[in-house]
């Protein structure tokens, strides 16, 4: 169960890194960003049909999401059943904030994911006007301060989730059996969290502050 969690989590890490790289194309201008979005749909052609690679990635992501959340809820349930009588007083001696917020933080990320997909993938709603191209849509949305605030909060949650998640996955896969390896895993985890949260935060902040 936990290996499933670790591997699906590792897949998400790779995906968010690629996603972040794409987002940073906002800085390269409208043409670069829009053509990037368009080329994503042509990826793998002519071997794959139009949007073929995109759909393969989407199916894999949904599968990984079910595996990741499923194993998380299973572990959550098992933890609850393992201690039905709670302590009257319980203090944490070592637990980091990120480790304590994995579960509710994960649920928060799930809610954010729904919001994010409805806004930028399904276009269920649009903020800041109605747009034709992806660049305009992103640019318009992040002119609105509360959209930026929601995204920054979610990125904070994602960064924390990654900080504990990457370390935890390394531990679960048995890659941290020496103190040196454990130190490296911790450093990698912090770096992943900071890079992902920071990299994603740059475009919205720059748009709101009028830098792009």
């Amino acid at each position: 169960m936990k290996i499933v969690m670790a591997l699906s989590g590792a897949f998400f890490v790779l995906y968010v890194l690629a996603h972040m790289y794409g987002n940073l194309k906002m800085f390269a201008g409208q043409e670069a960003f829009d053509s990037y979005a368009f080329h994503l749909r042509e990826l793998g052609e002519p071997i794959l049909p139009y949007e073929g690679a995109l759909w393969l990635i989407r199916v894999a992501l949904v599968g990984a999401l079910f595996a990741h959340a499923g194993s998380a809820f299973y572990l959550w349930k098992r933890a609850n059943e393992a201690r039905r009588t709670r302590y009257a007083v319980k203090r944490a001696a070592a637990a980091s904030l990120s480790s304590k917020t994995m579960r509710w933080g994960g649920v928060t990320l799930l809610l954010f994911l729904a919001f994010h997909l409805m806004q930028f993938t399904f276009h269920t709603f649009e903020v800041g006007g109605s747009f034709l191209g992806p660049y305009d849509r992103v640019y318009g949305a992040f002119q609105v301060w509360w959209v930026v605030a929601i995204y920054l909060a979610a990125l904070g949650a994602l960064g924390m989730h990654l900080k504990h998640g990457v370390w935890s996955a390394a531990q679960t896969l048995g890659l941290t059996s020496t103190p040196r390896a454990a130190r490296h895993a911790k450093a990698t985890a912090v770096a992943t969290g900071v890079v992902v949260a920071g990299g994603f935060a740059l475009p919205p902040l720059s748009i709101l502050l009028g830098l792009i």
Binding site: M1, K2, I3, L75, R78, A79, E81, A82, R83, R84, T85, R86, Y87, A88, V89, K90, R91, A92, A93, A94, A95, S96, S99, K100, M102, H164, W167, S168, A170, Q171, T172, L173, G174, L175, T176, S177, T178, P179, A181, A182
Partner: protein
Amino acid sequence: MRITLKIWRQASATAAGEFATYDLDEVSPDMSFLEMLDVLNEGLTAAGLDPVAFDSDCREGICGSCGLMIDGLAHGPERTTTCQLHMRSMKDGATITVEPWRGDSMTVIKDCVVDRSALDRIVQAGGYVSVNTGAAPDAHAVPVPKAKADRAFTAAACISCGACVAACPNASAMLFLGAKVTHLGELPQGQPERDARVVAMARQHDAEGFGGCTNIGECAAACPKEIPLDVISQLNKDLRHAMAKGL
């Protein structure tokens, strides 16, 4: 020192428990935590009341019998066993909450005494080395590299007190399990049964109803023997190798 104790009283495994409050006026800072409880119990006995039940044996920090949740920390605020915790670590005039280890796999027998036989059953499932009986072999007959001997010894320091389970937010016993697996897995004598051991012990751990580890690290911080968290990584690694072999 003046101390107010809020301590868990429960007549039997099936009875409902509750906290009882006792005031102690003449506590010496040099008393151990258990000696302070002894003083409380002498007073209760003299008054014709039932003394508070708690586990203890060696009282020198090596047997693993004692273990109380003191103000929300397993074995209290110091990195040691409850018997080696002294009252000077507490504040004068403090109210101290004392609870038994909590976990559905370690149920209360009476007051602050819990049933830790689930940990014994995990060891019975594979935490041993099968050898032929007979004369003891020479101590240096089997060479063991120093680094491996050291790591095995660090893991072997586990006294099975259960503090790791008590402190774990998931009530997982994986630090305990990891210590046993690492202890035998680092030594040449432990190799023939290494794969079967880790699978059998992990299976027993789950069957006993302990929770799953989420790598929070409370266990290693509570461990009076300072067993490091990397034994859990070793456990996961050994388990992965054994599963890859189809066990």
